[in-house]
Amino acid sequence: MQKHVIDPKSVPGWGIDADPQNDPTYPMKPNRTDVEQQGYTWERPTQQPADVEVLHSIERPNLSAVFGTASPPVGLSGMIRRWAFRWSENEYNHWLPLILADRVNVVEGIIEDIAHGKFPNIWKEKGYNASWKHDRTGLVLRLAAFTAVAGGLVLWLSADGGKKKAKRQKHYRGAYYEE
């Protein structure tokens, strides 16, 4: 722990933007106007044409004058997103499906890569070159832990599968003998 007392007046620029009016009663809107009282009446900028599918919040009546056209909704993730946009931003039915759609979209991305004859370079995409250079031990430990968990899971599932298979065979044998 370090106590490091600083004389405020020794700090360059101390107090040059001090504003005694800025207390909790002071409005944060720098320009107080009544324009919001007039509702959605301002002169709108030219509307950008929608040349791709754009989902918009149902908490507004229209598209904003400009919008992004990155990654329009496609595939299964797109279907989930379209469903999510039937609900307002106030609803979990809006946000939780969007998170699900994001995860589905990741799988779609991998399939798309493979369909284009390109297998994703996970090592490079995860930036492991940087980890290898600056935190080799941490990376090795992380990968070892992942391998151990994944390997353990595979072993457990295969052992469990074996047990189930044996149980099934026993059941069939029992059925045969009973006949």
């Binding site: 620029g13 030219t46 998170i99 995860k126």
Partner: protein, 384 residues
């Protein structure tokens, strides 16, 4: 053109993408020369922001040269070097008219709670960002600002977000001369908030984080008293009470947001299981460590759903919560002045320069705080 490409949580790459096009008469196309990776990009990188679609380019802190303008652009011309505020604002809606340029109503159809932001998911408008060789910039008559003659490009690129966000954090804290200001988080925005707290007349500035090299940096840069909440104390709130005559700090700034460490329950529910909109540890501590009647200023970014915060204490202590995305365009004139006069020295925050081709390594470096990284900037081929 070469551009960053999001493929899923903690997976990004640089790929060739089509050149951006003018989609609206007030658009400009900017050839990017520098583009930072921001702490809030890590929320996207970690997959914590809903509607972050595969194939999107991130990046909301960038500068560059105007190479094309739409038919209604009158205030910029081809060849201008511009810094582009991270928020996209029309300048005409009722929110923009009140100076709330981070809350524009004409730049994001996908959500009404936030205005458009470059490269920040479809929840923030679905725009491709500036971690690319070229980017489409809407409302070019209003947002982009010509970089003043002689200004260092490294200073200019940090004026697009880090400096205004840190400054507005201090502004929203309502600092009165002599106040004790606590800043949670010693990332680039926390560092800048601590520095700017002095400009508003703070009497004492305390920064808490758990990364020693960042605390060491802010200790000299701001300057500030610094403490590591993992090694210097058991309970940050109790510690801060003891540091402030048992009353609490006058103003507390949350400059951390959704990726906060320090509380197991918050970390598991907010960062691992995603059952809340990120880990709310910093804002939780802020509410509990500010004095009665004090102000909590929030610039740390959280997701759009819910968080576990002690709202009952906000009521019982009579607190004021102030929060917003920085209104960059409003603050720029004053901040340019501060940079030109040497009052704020943004470029000192930049620790790493990374070619766009190695963007994945940049994200990993920043996310895992490797190699004493404070602020990485992607430098495009044309600017090297």
């Amino acid at each position: 053109m070469l551009a960053m490409d999001y493929r899923g949580p903690k997976r990004v790459r640089a790929v060739q993408k089509p050149m951006p096009e003018i989609k609206h008469p007030e658009d400009a196309i900017v050839k990017v020369t520098r583009s930072c990776i921001c702490g809030s990009d890590l929320h996207l990188y970690n997959g914590n922001v809903p509607d972050t679609r595969v194939g999107t380019t991130f990046g909301h802190e960038f500068i560059g040269e105007v190479v094309e303008v739409g038919s209604e652009v009158t205030k910029l011309k081809v060849g201008d070097m511009v810094l582009v505020p991270f928020n996209i604002a029309c300048g005409r809606c009722s929110f923009c008219q009140q100076g709330l340029f981070g809350n524009c109503h004409e730049s994001n159809p996908m959500a009404t709670a936030v205005g458009g932001i470059f490269g920040y998911s479809h929840t923030a408008g679905g725009f491709h960002g500036g971690q690319a060789e070229y980017v489409r910039v809407p409302y070019a008559n209003f947002g982009p600002t010509v970089i003043p003659e002689g200004m260092d490009p490294d200073d200019a690129v940090l004026l697009t977000d880090v400096v205004p966000t840190g400054y507005q954090a201090a502004e929203m804290a309502g600092i009165q001369p002599g106040d004790t200001v606590v800043v949670f988080g010693a990332g680039p925005v926390g560092i800048m908030a601590a520095r700017c707290a002095w400009l508003f007349g703070a009497g004492r500035v305390i920064v808490l984080d758990h990364v020693d090299y960042r605390l060491e940096f802010v200790k000299h840069y701001a300057p500030a008293e610094v403490y590591n909440f993992k090694t210097d104390m058991q309970d940050p709130v109790l510690f801060l009470k003891k540091q402030t005559d048992w009353l609490g700090a006058d103003c507390v700034i949350d400059a951390v947001g959704a990726e906060a460490a320090g509380d197991v329950l918050q970390t598991i529910t907010g960062r691992k299981l995603l059952v809340q909109a990120g880990s709310a540890t910093a804002v939780h501590w802020a509410i509990n460590s500010v004095k009665k009647g004090g102000i909590v200023s929030i610039v740390g970014v959280y997701g759009p759903t819910d968080n576990l915060v002690p709202i009952g204490n906000v009521l019982n202590k009579g607190l004021t919560l102030r929060a917003n995305q920085a209104s960059v365009k409003r603050l720029l004139p004053r901040l340019i002045e501060h940079v030109q006069n040497g009052v704020i020295r943004p470029k000192e925050l930049i620790t790493h320069r990374i070619p766009l081709e190695e963007v994945a390594d940049g994200y990993r470096l920043f996310s895992d705080k490797l190699d004493n990284c404070i602020k990485p900037v992607l430098v495009m081929d044309s600017a090297r």
